[in-house]
């Protein structure tokens, strides 16, 4: 670097210098077709919204992302969900990485969790009270702390009520015999629908099992 350039570099404010660092690579699920559909995976510093009604047996699909990310995560569940059943979680993820807490108002009750990057992944499972202001706050925090938040809705998402802050808005359906069907309401990528065959998911589960 020439002396002029080095002078310029040293005079840059600290926050601009930080921006020169390459952004963290997105994290995927490890399932090739799903990651391709998501244009490489989910980005750090963003949050995604998922339409997963209760009783639809779709949440296990997300565990692939958690396993692949390999970091401590916080799963915030609504009181109406019941209690986490660790044996089932342990069959797919490393329980040492998993922390749970019950809350229906995650943003107001658990603010400290969003002010620090102790957990790089936070999953808000069917919270009853999340306002637009809360969404803006979540968006700001995950961008600042380079985290990723999953917001799981207990209903299917619609385009009538959008979400300007989410990177992806995806509805997930499950057909017992055929596998998962994912429909993108918002997000990057050409295809809006993805049919994820059950064989592919099971094959991936078996190959990546840590047990």
């Amino acid at each position: 670097m020439s002396s002029k350039l080095s002078f310029l570099h040293s005079s840059l404010p600290e926050n601009l210098l930080k921006k020169q660092v390459a952004p963290a690579l997105p994290f995927g699920s490890g399932i090739a077709s799903l990651d391709q559909w998501l244009d490489g995976g989910l980005a750090w510093g963003k949050f995604s919204e998922w339409g997963m009604p209760l009783g639809s047996d779709t949440r296990k699909l997300l565990l692939h992302f958690l396993k692949k990310a390999n970091c401590d995560f916080l799963w915030v569940y609504s009181p109406k969900m019941g209690a986490p059943y660790p044996a089932s979680w342990a069959s797919q993820i490393d329980l040492n990485r998993a922390y749970f807490i019950e809350s229906d108002r995650p943003v107001s009750d658990l603010k400290s969790c969003f002010l620090d990057n102790v957990f790089r992944l936070i999953i808000l499972d069917s919270p009853q009270f999340v306002s637009l202001g809360d969404l803006a706050f979540l968006n700001q925090q995950c961008r600042a702390l380079k985290q990723h938040y999953f917001l799981l809705r207990p209903y299917y998402l619609s385009n009538k009520l959008g979400n300007a802050y989410a990177q992806y808005r995806i509805n997930v359906f499950k057909e017992e015999a055929n596998g998962y069907i994912l429909k993108k309401q918002k997000g990057i990528g050409e295809q809006t629908n993805l049919h994820l065959a059950m064989e592919e998911v099971v094959l991936h589960e078996r190959s990546s099992s840590f047990l």
Partner: protein
């Protein structure tokens, strides 16, 4: 439906560190070193101490991870820092440790009440030995309960000894199968309690978190620190809003930290905040920290302490507004003064954190710190070494968690839902659209399981949802959870 159907299957590891430690050692009664392992320590008599690990176990677990050693070794290292010669035993209830400790010979080795060696020793405990500590128990009870409830303590004890002599039963374990209520009926309330403390009732293993046995009327008196860290504040004007009192509270916490805690690097576990109201009433709020709180590291803002204080203050205000009329609230329920006192503290000889420590372990410390700022505790599960599909099908895994491949286990667990219902709902019959998942069989050759020995698990679709359903040997069907 009994919890048996949902017996979620943890076998009992024999050297899992339990809640209480009974320690025999010469410790200076005024020394801060008493609080080296836990803020909750009780002086039983002479050189016998009882330590409650409830509030610090997770901290020690983090320390053991950091030092790459077992929890037992981490505790031993800490005790060895201030004691040279000691004997100790780990147990679920202090009474178990108190009866067995005199029989143990080896110093410094941590004995577990549930390990085979101790269980064999316990089988040889005679009635006199079992009641040896009852004198001290009586002295402690005198300070805590009414004399009238202790009137028959000595007579019932003698009655018990006479009865056992007459029956020719020499050892306590000869009556192992005896029911607590029967003992209580024949030999009085306190003898019944001693029995229950020695042979605690079998409890359900739901929820899956490790069940902590409570003291069950054991006379627990916690040791207090010799030097009391406190600060009294009289306000110039009465206040009832958090924003008004927060700066004063912060100032007081800073004073306590600077004057009492900073130099000795004392971490705190509980602060008592006694409020004096304009109407003359006084209230006491307990500001609890789930893990030892290194307050000197949080200076000068004391974010954690203030957050926990705010939770307590808001809960108290909510209870006040529910109880009193709005008018009363305005007039008399404003705060005019308070006393802030550190009730429980722990003296940790902080080891320097090495740079080589894996990030996941340093993150564990951060999580403990974060937990202190939350309104409720984080749930963290781990599967014990002896985890199996079913309580009756114990597959010992010797090294760590799931080092052996176990196809059957993974297959069944992956077909169970992520959440279960804490109360089970009975269904009329098995829903039409049901898929069989697995069958669990109990020890049908044992009398207690001889009738209901097969449980079939199904994934059933009804009311537009997928449910987890079980059918027992009698054909009864229950909904256990939902596949979300």
């Amino acid at each position: 439906m009994s919890a048996q159907v949902l017996s979620f299957n943890q076998s009992k590891p024999k050297n899992e560190v339990c809640r209480y430690l009974v320690l025999k050692a010469k410790i200076d009664k005024d020394s801060d070193l008493r609080f080296s392992i836990s803020p909750e320590i009780m002086h039983w008599r002479d050189d016998l101490w009882i330590i409650d690990l409830n509030s610090t176990k997770r901290y020690w677990y983090a320390t053991s991870l950091q030092k790459d050693q077992s929890l037992e070794d981490a505790l031993k290292e800490q005790v060895s820092n201030f004691l040279e010669d000691f004997q100790w035993i780990n147990c679920k209830h202090p009474w178990q440790g108190l009866i067995l400790l005199p029989l143990l010979s080896e110093s410094q080795r941590l004995y577990y009440f549930e390990e085979d060696y101790c269980q064999n020793l316990a089988r040889s405990v005679c009635w006199e030995s079992w009641l040896k500590e009852s004198e001290t128990l009586y002295n402690h009870l005198q300070k805590l309960v009414k004399q009238s409830s202790l009137n028959q303590f000595s007579s019932k004890r003698s009655q018990l000894l006479r009865a056992m002599d007459r029956l020719g039963l020499e050892e306590v374990y000869d009556l192992e199968q005896a029911d607590t209520s029967s003992m209580q009926k024949r030999f009085g309330f306190w003898m019944g309690k001693l029995w229950e403390w020695t042979f605690p009732n079998k409890r359900s293993d739901l929820p899956l978190m490790q069940g902590l046995q409570d003291l069950n009327e054991f006379p627990w008196t916690c040791e207090k620190p010799k030097q009391v860290a406190l600060r009294i504040r009289a306000l110039d004007y009465s206040v009832d809003q958090w924003d008004q009192l927060e700066p004063f509270l912060q100032e007081d916490i800073a004073y306590i930290e600077k004057s009492f805690l900073r130099q000795k690097k004392i971490s705190i576990c509980q602060i008592e905040w006694s409020l004096e109201l304009y109407g003359g009433q006084s209230f006491s709020l307990k500001i609890d920290f789930r893990n030892p709180y290194a307050i000197f590291e949080d200076a000068p803002v004391f974010n954690t302490a203030l957050t926990q204080a705010r939770y307590q203050f808001e809960a108290w205000q909510k209870s006040l507004t529910e109880e009193k009329s709005f008018h009363d609230y305005l007039e008399a329920y404003k705060i005019v003064s308070w006393k802030l006192e550190v009730n429980k503290h722990i003296y940790l000889q902080q080891s320097e954190q090495s740079l080589d420590v894996a990030s996941s372990i340093t993150n564990y410390y951060k999580i403990l710190d974060l937990e202190n700022k939350l309104p409720k505790a984080l749930e963290h599960y781990r599967l014990k070494k002896g985890f199996a599909i079913n309580a009756h099908e114990i597959k010992e895994k010797t090294q760590g968690f799931f080092t052996q491949k176990d196809g059957l286990w993974t297959k069944t667990a992956s077909h169970r839902p992520l959440y279960y219902k804490t109360t089970q709902k009975k269904l009329r019959n098995l829903p039409y659209r049901s898929f069989f998942l697995e069958r669990n069989s109990s020890d049908w050759w044992k009398e207690e399981h001889s009738e209901d020995y097969n449980w079939d698990f199904y994934k059933s679709h009804y009311q537009r949802n997928w449910h987890w359903v079980v059918k027992n040997s009698f054909g009864e069907t229950y909904e256990l959870g939902r596949f979300d």
